[in-house]
């Protein structure tokens, strides 16, 4: 387990302030944040490569805050690889293990770079450099591996392969990983724990699905790519039991926990129904675009929120379609498959029905 407590560090004018989070033993943590949010500084502070001003870094039960980097049992892989330019690929991979360590050979083969062994690192592509840097760190089998956008220069095919192999090695060898990424898909695919960092502070942390579905603030929601963040007012439907959502099967665990109410969220002229423990007053409703269904006719659905609106914008990108609806002046974006867009014969200017479940609405 990696446990970070109130970590504070400074690099030039940038401050990392009171960062705290845990990644359980053998789990995969992902740090998500915009450029300049302090992700790399965080990794370097954990590795002991950036001096910290305050706080504590623990690995397992060991407080390693004052340990030298070489004594921490932490590997780090940078986005740019930082392969030693005076050494060959093989010498780079063997750097921390000596010649021909079994783990180095296994990792090289699994990452598909065994054939590069005798190459000069100057002849490698950006993606190959990232894979060699990954192999170099993995070869030592560190208990904690820190990864700073390690797949960013790989083409889609190699990226998928490398992700799968790193995840497989992570499971087989049981090391703990903490990866920095901009890529929300990657975070969802790899991460057991997501840590959202902005301006040197942790904004939110938890399982990736939870962070994506239940962002703590509208800023986080927008940062995480939520298309629909609506400002409005919450009204507690005190006379209505929370079981009004019970028709929306299956309900997630805790959805009807004590203290939860049926809620009405008023955004302009439309009312959106949900359930939760929000206090009455101003709030934001977050509805992910993929939660909104679009139909040509009024749907016979269990979804509590059904609206009629007009398509004001329609676009498709690859297998996905993006439909922007105007519902009495409120714009909602729905994400459909391109095939659905085609089958429904959707077109701009047409009236359609949009529906989403009460549980798809998150108030913050």
């Amino acid at each position: 387990m990696i446990s970070i407590r109130n970590l504070t560090a400074r690099v030039g004018e940038f401050h990392l302030r009171n960062v705290s989070f845990d990644v359980p033993e053998g789990r995969y943590g992902v740090v998500i944040g915009p450029a300049g949010s302090g992700k790399t500084t965080l990794l370097e502070a954990i590795a002991g490569l950036t001096p910290i001003l305050a706080g504590q870094v623990s690995l397992g039960k060991k407080d390693v805050t004052r340990y030298a980097p070489e004594d921490r049992g932490i590997g780090i892989v940078y986005q740019h690889g930082y392969l030693f330019p005076h050494l060959s690929v093989r010498e780079n991979i063997d750097y921390g293990t000596g010649n021909g360590a079994p783990a180095a050979q296994e990792v090289s083969e699994r990452l598909g770079i065994a054939a590069l062994a005798d190459r000069d690192v100057h002849s490698l592509s950006g993606g190959e450099r990232q894979l060699v840097a990954l192999a170099r760190s993995l070869a030592r089998r560190p208990p904690l591996l820190l990864l700073d956008e390690p797949f960013s220069a790989l083409d889609p095919k190699r990226r998928t392969h490398a992700r799968r192999e790193v995840r497989a090695l992570h499971r087989e060898w049981g090391f703990t990983a903490l990866q920095v990424t901009h890529d929300f898909t990657e975070a969802g695919l790899l991460g057991d724990v997501a840590i959202l960092l902005d301006a040197g502070r942790v904004l939110q942390q938890g399982p990736p699905d939870e962070v994506f579905r239940r962002p703590a603030t509208p800023y986080i929601a927008e940062f995480l790519g939520a298309e629909n963040v609506l400002a409005g007012t919450v009204r507690v439907l005190a006379d209505t039991g929370p079981d009004f959502v019970a028709v929306e099967e299956p309900l997630p665990a805790g959805a009807l926990a004590p203290g939860y109410h049926a809620l009405e969220f008023l955004s302009g002229p439309i009312s959106i129904y949900t359930v939760g423990n929000a206090e009455p007053g101003s709030a934001y409703a977050v509805i992910r675009a993929e939660e909104i269904a679009v139909a040509r006719t009024e749907p016979a659905t269990s979804a509590r929120n059904v609206f009629r609106g007009r398509i004001v914008e329609l676009s498709t990108l690859g297998a996905l379609g993006r439909v922007t609806l105007d519902i009495q002046g409120v714009q909602l974006v729905a994400s459909l498959t391109a095939r659905s867009v085609q089958e429904l014969a959707l077109a701009e200017g047409e009236d359609v029905w949009a529906s989403f479940k009460a549980m798809a609405v998150h108030l913050c």
Binding site: L49, E70, I76, Y78, H80, Y82, F84, P85, H122, P142
Partner: protein
């Protein structure tokens, strides 16, 4: 703001080009003239002029000695200066530039005050059998004083160009700092370190002002050329001076070769 016309551009280009050409001519012409007139006689003189041969050997040995001392003592200092962001480091960096700024005879006088027979250090060294004034050791001291700052400054730049993340990665791969220095930092900074050492050696070879105060005899080539000039006049000096220029060309050629080598300090 009004854009300048093409004709005014042309005038500026011509004036700038003329100025640069004249400066280049001014810098190259005297050396070219000296080499043209004295290269053959200089090479011949090395064969028959025992005093010149002794001066050349003395110059090469003392410059090499000073450079080795500069490398041994200056490399750790340069690394410290490259990796430390503190006022103390900035102050040390500024102090290191001082020997480059003061006139070299003044540097010789300053050295004489510290290393002369009457001084505490010079007296102690003399008692230990290490006379400085009037000995090759004095030449080494003078050379070291005026040229070591060039090495430290160049080596500091060479270390600064090595991204600290290479060292960081090496440490996470299990290396202690000294091992990182040997396996990563020095190999990556090597080209710059060698270039700085070459510059230091060349500067040491060409030193005159400080040497002439500390050790007139035995003579280095620079002192010998001055001695010949004041004793015999210009024509007798030309072979000696040309020999000195030819020695100075060796590091110049070395530097060019190093500069065209592949850069090893880029992030990969």
């Amino acid at each position: 703001m009004r854009a300048s016309s093409p004709s005014s551009h042309r005038v500026i280009s011509v004036v700038a080009g003329l100025g640069s050409s004249l400066l280049l001519l001014f810098l190259v012409a005297p050396i070219a003239e000296l080499v043209t007139r004295g290269a053959t006689s200089g090479i011949r003189a090395v064969g028959r002029d025992t005093e010149l041969r002794a001066a050349l050997i003395l110059t090469a040995l003392t410059a090499t000695g000073a450079t080795l001392i500069g490398i041994l003592a200056g490399t750790p200092l340069a690394y410290f200066l490259a990796r430390t962001r503190s006022r103390a480091a900035a102050a040390v960096g500024a102090v290191l530039d001082l020997p480059l700024l003061i006139p070299h005879p003044v540097a010789g006088i300053a050295l004489l005050l510290v290393l002369g027979r009457e001084s505490a250090v010079g007296g102690s060294l003399l008692k230990a059998g290490l006379g400085v004034v009037g000995t090759p050791l004095g030449i080494v001291a003078a050379m070291l004083f005026v040229s070591a700052p060039l090495y430290v400054s160049g080596a500091r730049e060479a270390f600064a160009r090595v991204d600290r993340r290479y060292e960081g990665v090496a440490r996470t791969l299990g290396d202690r700092p000294l091992r990182v220095m040997r396996r990563v930092t020095l190999p990556l900074a090597l080209r710059g370190l060698v270039a700085s050492a070459v510059v230091m050696w060349a500067r040491a070879v060409s030193e005159f002002g400080a040497i002439v105060i500390l050790t007139y005899n035995p003579k280095t080539v620079s002192v010998l050329s001055y001695d010949r000039f004041t004793t015999f006049g210009l024509s007798e000096t030309i072979p000696v001076a040309a020999a000195l220029v030819l020695i100075a060309l060796i590091p110049l050629v070395l530097l060019r070769v190093l500069r065209y080598e592949r850069r090893m300090d880029q992030p990969w």
